[in-house]
């Protein structure tokens, strides 16, 4: 037999949190040496496009609650709607803010709050530059978790990749220094583990043409009649119809004979 059925105990589902630097080139800081570029929509919006893959890494926008109708008001109402569920509501950060919006591909599922640092952005500088991440420091909004610093001048919404810094407002976002922002991304990956168990009496012969003597049709070496050896290089996972669904390669051949059993753990990420 070439196929062996898997038993229920051969399957395991596990979730693992993967934390990594959020920005291009494996950096926790965005756009090394780059500057923010005007997106062309309005002076209220800036996007940093100088990542090593040319993709925008973060945007900076100014939000102002009151005053003449402007792009800044639209930004304020946009975040009020997202965070409070009410565009007319006041945000906890105050009536003016600078928003740091990190590209979704950078923060993946969320920003890891304990790694987030934000220095001076658009002429405003939160102090402390980090949010409190103790077990009692989290509150929940329409935008998911909310963390803030002790001075209520920096608010982080890690589940939507946004930080709001109190202040600024009347002018455009202004200067932007890459080193002022630090963030790691966080994502939860669900992995399926499949345990492949080859018992001692199983899989000791091969259909490999070099295993067979081409002239006699017998096994290549007389030793192989009583003590065959095979070398596992590939594991194939199949459904009942015989479709090859997934394939795993070992990094080096694994010797198998009647005196050895093999246990191989296959990890499948979706």
């Amino acid at each position: 037999m070439s196929f062996k059925r898997l038993e229920p105990e051969d399957f395991l589902i596990s979730t693992d949190a993967i934390v990594a630097p959020a920005f291009a080139g494996g950096s926790s800081n965005p756009t090394q040496g780059g500057t923010a570029a005007n997106s062309g929509i309005s002076l209220d919006y800036f996007t940093a496009f100088n990542g090593t893959d040319g993709r925008g890494e973060l945007s900076i926008a100014t939000g102002v609650k009151t005053g003449p109708v402007s792009g800044s008001q639209a930004v304020y109402r946009q975040f009020a709607n997202l965070i409070q569920g009410n565009a007319d509501a006041d945000l906890a950060v105050g009536t003016t803010f600078q928003a740091v919006v990190i590209d979704r591909q950078r923060f993946k599922q969320s920003i890891l709050p304990s790694t987030f640092r934000c220095g001076s952005i658009g002429g405003v500088a939160p102090n402390p530059t980090h949010v409190a991440t103790g077990s009692t420091d989290v509150t929940f909004t329409d935008a998911g978790r909310q963390f803030k610093n002790s001075a209520n001048s920096l608010f982080l919404y890690p589940d939507i990749g946004v930080a709001l810094i109190s202040g600024g407002g009347s002018s455009s976002p202004g200067t932007y220094t890459p080193a002022n922002i630090t963030a790691d991304s966080e994502e939860v990956i669900t992995s399926n583990y499949v345990f492949i168990r080859a018992r001692n009496a199983e899989f000791n012969y091969s259909q490999n043409p070099t295993f067979i003597d081409s002239t006699t049709g017998g096994v290549r070496y007389t030793d192989f009649i009583t003590a065959p050896q095979t070398f596992i290089t590939t594991v194939g996972l199949y459904n009942d119809s015989g479709d090859l669904l997934a394939v795993a390669k070992l990094s080096k051949p694994l010797k198998k004979d009647f005196t050895k059993e093999a246990l191989i753990r296959i990890k499948l990420d979706f």
Partner: protein
């Protein structure tokens, strides 16, 4: 494509093209229920039973070889499966298709009934689970069907339609019926024959055989 780092034993698992297709369907067909092992890339002529270093070193040339990464094309993996046979087996199962090559005229039919030799002490020559038969270009056949295996899984596979750019088709059965295409456009303006291949694998033994198939154009 690249060589895997062989400093440590690791497993690099990927979905095949077929696996992605079935996963996308979301109809439950992506359900892993069985596995097979293979020794693709291994050349047993490198096994050295005369090594003066002793039996522990007979296979050292094979054990130390670097392996290529897994490839997503399902047909390029597990070409040579490892099989479970009784200890003392001296003759490996081989498939006898009755043909070393197949040539069909347009519209001609052929019934192929593979036999497995040297399997289970020669007590039987037909594998009870049947054979999977894959044609590399199903456009060359107006009929390509497997019969004789009536499990639900086999019937599902045999009912699968070939869609889009996929031209390969696999059926399961103890007998496979072929009928060469009557469509002339496949031959182009000047060709008088088209060539494809038929891969037959014993579902129990893992024995495999590959035969070229030629379809010749009716000229009158």
């Amino acid at each position: 494509m690249g060589y895997l780092n062989n400093a440590v034993i690791t497993v690099d698992a990927i979905l095949t093209d077929r696996g992605r297709e079935l996963l996308a369907r979301g109809d439950g067909s992506f359900k892993i229920t069985q596995f097979a092992l293979s020794d693709d890339e291994v050349d047993y002529s490198l096994y050295d039973p005369t090594s003066p270093s002793g039996s522990a070193f007979f296979g050292k040339n094979i054990e130390n070889m670097p392996l290529l990464e897994a490839m997503p094309k399902a047909t390029q993996n597990l070409r040579y499966k490892l099989t479970t046979l009784p200890r003392g087996t001296s003759q490996m199962p081989v498939l006898d298709l009755g043909y070393s090559s197949i040539t069909l005229k347009q519209g001609a039919t052929l019934s192929l009934t593979p036999q497995t030799l040297n399997y289970l002490g020669n007590n039987q020559v037909f594998e009870s689970s049947g054979y999977t038969v894959t044609i590399a270009d199903v456009r060359t056949m107006s009929t390509f069907e497997g019969i004789g295996v009536n499990t639900q899984a086999a019937q599902n596979l045999n009912a699968t339609q070939t869609l889009g750019a996929a031209t390969q088709k696999t059926v399961v059965g103890t007998t496979v019926n072929l009928r060469a295409t009557t469509v002339n456009t496949l031959f182009g303006s000047s060709a008088t024959s088209i060539v494809t291949s038929l891969l037959v694998v014993g579902r129990d033994s893992g024995a495999r055989a590959n035969v070229p198939v030629t379809i010749t154009k009716n000229t009158q």
